[in-house]
């Protein structure tokens, strides 16, 4: 396996900016901030933890992608996973930390007999992002098949073999 220094540096930078710094920033945040965000129905600690996890997964994917040969099934699979992961990040951002809402972010909460909810409907952009990612995956598959046919690669039944 070849060592891809560029991908290692990229993965390290992603880990620093998306995992280490947010978690360190969370430690420095005053308790009043947490109370304020919780009152607004915003779980800031949960959000930062999710961002940190995204950082770890993203760094791992960057590292793996950098160490896989291009015209291979593994590379295609990783490229597909990478695109789906980017779509997850889009939904994460649109849903303000809740990707399961698919772009329908809800903020607010209940306090002292009164409730205040603010709902952001950004599902259109989630749908557009899904179409873009689907096209990107189709493109990757066609590209992969083209490269394979150019290299004269044969795929026997039950596995793949590069000649």
């Amino acid at each position: 396996m070849r060592v891809n220094v560029k991908s290692i540096i990229k993965a390290l930078l992603i880990l620093i900016f998306l995992t280490v710094l947010p978690l360190y920033g969370l430690q420095l945040m005053p308790g009043e901030f947490f109370k304020l965000f919780t009152m607004q129905g915003f779980d800031i600690a949960g959000l930062v933890n999710k961002i940190a996890l995204i950082g770890v997964v993203m760094a791992a994917l960057v590292l793996l992608r950098g160490h896989v040969q291009k015209p291979s099934g593994t590379h295609l699979a990783l490229a597909t996973v990478w695109k789906v992961f980017l779509l997850y990040i889009v939904f994460f951002a649109l849903g303000l930390g809740r990707p399961e809402t698919l772009g329908l972010a809800v903020l607010g909460g209940e306090a002292g007999g009164a409730s205040n909810l603010v709902i952001f409907d950004l599902r259109l952009f989630g749908a557009l992002a899904t179409v873009i990612v689907a096209l990107m995956i189709i493109r990757s598959v066609i590209e992969f098949r083209q490269i394979k046919s150019k290299l004269g690669v044969q795929e026997p039944e039950g596995g793949e073999r590069t000649q």
Binding site: L117, I119, L128, I142, Q146, K150
Partner: protein
């Protein structure tokens, strides 16, 4: 083999442009619609845009809510502003509810009026004179053919056991 390759190259080129076009379209629509929503919000809630008055008829006890507004759309796309006000009983039943919506073109201003009348019978039946039950209001602003928007839902519970319970 060569023909297949040419076809694949063409498909890849078409897909490449489709992807770039869709990304640009998404980013432009996101920026324009968020800007329009933000400007629409500042034009709707800023200053003396809306006036709420509550009149209680001393003789009969009937209540009349009236909301007058003249929101302005400072965005790039047309917006739709919706208002809904409702009064609910302690059991969570709607005693009175009314809503209105107005479409405003970019740079324009449009008057908006919403009234909610609660008759004397309903005031007495649901003990509203003692501020029992709850008040609910919804304010929505949408743009891009109602595909993008913000909705605020506020519920204020009045006195009485159990609050509004909605």
């Amino acid at each position: 083999m060569v023909a297949e390759n040419v076809k694949a190259v063409r498909t890849l080129r078409v897909l490449r442009f489709a992807i770039i076009g869709l990304i640009v379209l998404t980013l432009v629509l996101l920026a324009v619609s968020l800007y329009t929503l933000f400007m629409g919000l500042t034009g709707a809630v800023g200053g003396d845009t809306f006036k709420l008055s509550v009149k209680i008829d001393e003789a009969t006890g009937a209540i009349l809510f009236r909301l007058d507004g003249n929101p302005r759309n400072g965005g790039l796309l047309s917006i739709k502003i919706t208002f809904e006000v409702a009064v609910l009983s302690l059991e969570g039943q709607y005693v009175a509810r009314n809503s209105t919506a107005v479409y405003i073109e970019p740079g324009a201003r449009k008057p908006l009026t919403l009234t909610l009348f609660i008759s004397q019978e309903d005031v007495q039946r649901y003990n509203l004179q003692e501020l029992r039950g709850s008040f609910e209001y919804k304010f929505g602003i949408t743009t891009l053919w109602d595909l993008v928007g913000i909705l605020q839902v506020v519920k204020i519970k009045g006195g009485g056991e159990g609050g509004g319970g909605t």
